[in-house]
């Protein structure tokens, strides 16, 4: 395979694997009415990236470290009664991350391109190493879902019911958030911290709109995630447009189609 063949294989594989895995995560985040968790974790990863750039540290590992830290803080807050609405709590964490990102960007005086890449992402930046990490984390996600889909489904339906039935709600939530932190960080280069939220929420929202059961919703959300990334990439390449923006707009377009489908195919409620 020649150089361009390798590049396009990498880009296409990254788009499909990243879109599919983020689409799957979104099912549980949207289901828990906590899709904003994704944007907090992605901004924590971005803040880590800025920190790494400032201090000359490895970008992926630093981003992963800050994303994991955010995931653990979120998990702790979710698992304890802190007498605050969850969206307010997430809003405060989001503000903290944004503040750190802009502070770091303000301190950097030279070329900002790598930092802007973290915000907007580009599939053209994807390397073989990134793809290997994405594949590895996707396998862990599949393993987690095979083991804990029943538990996650129950927790998403009712956290209280899960707790009173003796499910290890706190443990499963923490594992899920840690896994989310890894997958979001691995996809940061491709989609960018600002746009990753759309891949977490739109494919899942589309799947909930037309899916009849949780299994179908999970499969549909993964497919919609892959389609958003794949079609977005093709449009981006074909019309020389920004990749992250094309992926985001494709995911919103798919949601619009799902709403139309629902209008003409109302289910049993």
């Amino acid at each position: 395979m020649n150089f361009w063949g390798n590049i396009w294989f990498l880009i296409t594989a990254a788009a499909i694997i990243g879109g599919g895995s983020i689409g799957s995560l979104g099912v549980y985040m949207v289901g828990m009415r906590l899709s904003f968790i994704g944007i907090v974790i992605s901004h924590a990863a971005m803040a880590g990236g800025v920190l790494a750039y400032l201090l000359g540290l490895p970008v992926f590992l630093t981003s992963l470290g800050t994303a994991l830290l955010a995931a653990l803080v979120l998990g702790w807050l979710l698992n304890h009664e802190i007498h605050m609405e969850s969206d307010v709590m997430l809003g405060i964490l989001f503000s903290l991350m944004m503040g750190l990102i802009f502070l770091g960007m303000g301190i950097v005086r030279d070329d900002m391109t790598p930092l802007l890449g973290l915000m907007w992402g580009s599939l053209l930046f994807v390397k073989a190493q990134d793809l290997a990490i994405m594949v590895f984390l996707s396998f862990i996600l599949v393993g987690f879902l095979l083991l804990f889909h029943k538990e996650m489904k129950s927790i998403v339906f009712s956290r209280t019911l899960g707790i009173v039935c003796g499910l290890p709600v706190n443990l499963v939530t923490i594992i899920f958030l840690v896994l989310s932190a890894g997958i979001i960080t691995a996809n940061l280069n491709m989609i960018g911290g600002l746009l990753i939220y759309s891949l977490l929420s739109c494919p899942a929202a589309s799947a909930y709109t037309i899916g009849k059961n949780m299994r179908a919703i999970l499969i549909l959300s993964s497919i919609f995630g892959m389609l958003s990334a794949g079609v977005g990439l093709a449009v981006s390449f074909g019309f020389d447009l920004p990749t992250g923006a094309c992926i985001t707009l494709t995911s919103v377009f798919i949601y619009g189609m799902a709403l139309l489908w629902r209008k003409f195919n109302p289910g049993d409620g």
């Binding site: 899960g162 039935c165 409620g269």
Partner: protein, 264 residues
Amino acid sequence: MKPFELHNVTCQIGKKPLLEGISLSVEKSDFLGVIGPNGAGKSTLLRLLNATMKPSGGKLSLLGKDLVSASQRDILRLRRKIATVPQIMDFNLSIPLTAREVVEIARIGRNGPGRSLSPIDTAKMEESMELMGISSLANRTFRSLSGGEKQKVQMARVLAQEPDILLLDEPTSSLDMDWQERLVRLIEDIHLKNKFTVVMTTHITGHLPSRCERIVLLKQGRILFDGRFGEALTKENLEKLYDCRVDILSHSGRIHCFGIGAKE
């Protein structure tokens, strides 16, 4: 081993006391009714009894295990043996779980994390749904069911859990009169057939089934009276409990209480 024993239990959030000096124990297969006005501490008592809250002081033994010193693993094990129908349930009705899948949650919890459901689990779920008369609803989405049908699914769920203790927190509160009556009879029937210990809270005396042999009157976090059904539900006790004038009517083994105005 007693299902639960509380010795001088205190419970508070911040500086606000929710329960103070509660001492209470039950025997296996007892049916205990807990009555009290809003804010009396009924739900807090049930949260202690289903191990989702620890006491701030005193001693609480659940199925022979001291809750204060219990590890997280022990607490999860306890919860699997104690079935609860909470008063407020945060159901996310955008999730299209079927009635069967809601009942299944009991078996998922009972089996422990990561385990697949066995044919025994499936058989128990089917049996519970049949007992509750909801087999025909098993594949309907939970969100499409009526309030009464949802409550029946909840009861099938607790039966599928095969608990040692069943906790019911104002189970009739969201139902219309017809379903309230049906549910009371259903609870009586479940207790008669299964013989597990039942604790039911309510602020409506008429909703306590005639099988409820013992009543605890709870007011402002303290036990006002603890005794037999007929001795507890007197005009004098209920007037003290609700701080208003009451009238009572005995009918079909149950005692109905009516507020008839403020105390003079």
